[in-house]
Symmetry: C2
Subunit: 410 residues, 2 copies
């Protein structure tokens, strides 16, 4: 089911989370920004962590993005991140920047640290100002601990209208030391309009310098977080942040380290796991769709085509209707911007071949429908133009998507 090659050395931890790696604490509280749910959270490590981040490519970037960039720019190390939901602090001008800076300062003061020790992330309504009195009280109330409950509290505090919290954990051996990695994320949901942000937070106790961590994160983002789509819209607040506090005491990981590829795989599996959880919990979604394109000249073309297919409203509605509608897939391929030969195209739902080398194949509509009613469906496209492949993940387009996003603000 998974397109990654299994790597023996990496073990997924059931109910893993951001606090599995040594030395991390977290907290999440209800500060009143949301009606009744937790809305301010923190991740903290006593030992400063190497930090790496990737951000939204939207021209419009929210204030916390700028503050986080500033923090990381100073030494490349962080003691943690403070996060709020309900308000994105985007399109809020000077006041927004002032508020994001104050959040950072309050978090740092709490631990007697310098401002640049903290990153800031926000998710919620665009164009509204932060209710800073509530935020101040919220940050004051945070009590970071290393417990599963604390990890869950943080995971809840970063949600907007996600249905479920998203977390995972993995471990491996590097230099004979156990290295752990945990992740938490939120995805897209917007009963209250304008919320569509993807936030991902990854902790690890690996020893790695900021520069190498950034290289690792940048190298796997295009294959993981950048290959999911819920509705094609890209937020002003998207951020994925990795913190590596070095408590595992391995030899510093660099591209020359003999186990560098294991670390990359650890980061990739964590990222892909979170990315798929985000796609599956897309607004109104009932199922996860994975599209694999095989046999192109370049990986980039394969990925672009896969993402175009999984992002097509027509493919998404067909998936909702459990309809093995391959005409919509080939039409999406045709407008993906990637050249290919329709006469050498094979399309497979699960293991049901519906088009082979450009020729429609008779198949059982009942079997296809039964397959497409699963909570997780996989579509394979085979071409004969090369040896590269690419994968993308998305979700179906449902009545609930329209309901959630067509609702009035209140």
């Amino acid at each position: 089911m998974n397109t990654l090659q299994p790597v023996e050395e990496i073990k997924q931890i059931q109910e893993g989370n951001i606090l599995m790696p040594q030395g991390f604490k977290a907290s999440g509280v209800h500060a009143g920004l949301r009606y009744s749910k937790k809305d301010v959270g923190i991740i903290f490590t006593d030992v400063p962590a190497s930090a790496a981040a990737v951000y939204t490519q939207n021209v419009v970037q929210a204030a916390p993005i700028n503050v986080t960039k500033d923090s990381i720019a100073v030494t490349g190390k962080l003691h943690g991140i403070v996060v709020n939901s309900a308000c994105a602090n985007a399109c809020t001008g000077e006041q927004g920047l002032k508020d994001a800076n104050e959040m950072r300062k309050l978090a740092a003061l709490k631990f007697g640290l310098e401002d640049h020790s903290f990153a800031v992330a926000s998710t919620g309504v665009i164009g509204e100002f932060m209710e800073m009195e509530k935020v101040r009280n919220g940050i004051e109330a945070l009590q970071p601990e290393n417990t599963p409950e604390a990890a869950e509290a943080f995971g809840t505090a970063i949600l907007t209208t996600d249905i479920v919290t998203k977390s995972c954990g993995y471990e491996t051996i590097i230099d004979g030391k156990t290295v752990k990695m945990g992740g938490a994320a939120k995805g897209s949901g917007m009963i209250h309009p304008n919320m569509a942000t993807m936030l991902g937070f990854i902790t690890t106790d690996a020893v790695i310098e900021p520069h190498d961590l950034q290289q690792a994160l940048s190298s796997i983002t295009n294959d993981t977080f950048n290959q999911i789509t819920v509705d094609g819209d890209c937020s002003t607040n998207d951020m994925v942040l990795v913190l590596a506090n070095g408590e595992a005491n391995n030899e510093p990981l660099t591209p020359d380290h003999p186990e560098w590829s294991i670390f990359l795989e650890l980061l990739k599996q964590t990222s892909e796991n979170l990315a798929k959880q985000i796609a599956k919990d897309g607004e109104g979604a009932t199922k996860l769709i994975e599209v694999n394109v095989h046999g192109m000249h370049t990986k980039q073309d394969s990925q672009m085509m896969a993402k175009t297919i999984v992002g097509s409203n027509l493919v998404k509605t067909a998936a909702f209707g459990a309809d093995a509608n391959w005409g919509r897939i080939i039409a999406a391929m045709g407008r993906s911007g990637v050249g290919f030969n329709p006469d050498q195209t094979t399309i497979v739902f699960g293991d049901i071949v519906v088009l082979k080398d450009g020729e429609p194949i008779m198949f059982s509509e009942e079997e296809a429908k039964a397959y497409l009613e699963n909570e997780s469906i996989i579509i394979h496209v085979y071409l004969k133009d090369g040896n590269e492949s690419g994968t993308a993940w998305g979700c179906d387009l449902t009545y609930d998507y329209v309901k959630i996003n067509g609702s009035y603000r209140s």
Copy 2:
């Protein structure tokens, strides 16, 4: 309301259609390809007409597209076009090409003309073969006439699940002669899956050589048909065909003709009229959305930004919910691929300013909601980067879109 400058010389004809220009006839019949509706149609002119066409940019192109290209390539002139609905004749290989060629031959034989006198267009299900016995009988039954009823019959025969027929007519004076132009179109609707084709047919009695007509059509397509979007998917069968039979007896129109710009404007108004009708009748749509972007360096950037905004699922659902949700607009702008300064952005719904130079403006939610409940809404975005502007048209995203496209094939 209209972004075009009013041109005094061009008059819209109420209930105008493709048979207003002199010398054109049409017909539409029920051949049994659809359950009960008309499904085979023809446009015919005794005098051969200069022909020009633009086609889908999809890599996958249906058989009739190839046949039409072949016909026009011979002399640049056509006596007409034969069209069917229900079956797209796309992804049908050699058999599909044979069938499209036979349709052309049958139409030509009917009038004792050579094959290349006719173009062919199809719209409907992808990946199914034409029911040629029915098509043969249909073409046999066509009886072209010059009556409003015949125009309407043709307009009906080209529909798939469009709710309404789409037509318009204009006239002007060139060289002291009355020159008329009429149009018919179908847009996107897909109760039966895989139908998403845009077809546009424009007739005129202007005198103009094929080469100049093609230049005129190509020059206005990017501002009209290419600026509408229903769901971002682009069909295998899209085609816009213009026939100019010269019955108006004006001096041949060329770029050097003193009234060339009037002809361009005539073609542009006809095309824009049809394009807006298609957008308004998008699948499940309840309203037409027009987005105007002003103040960019280039027209192309303005158009790309306008189309990104009007194509955003989040903007489309907000329009459905009559929600003046400007955060979604600026977020769409930010991912449009066009650089701009968010702090110099002004957003206006109708005449209600919601963001001015990057600052949120207090506005009456009730007034905004009342405006957005209109059947036709206009969004203006003002930037300060240049003097160019661009417009795009689309429709809202509704429960009915999901219903129509999530239905099983039957």
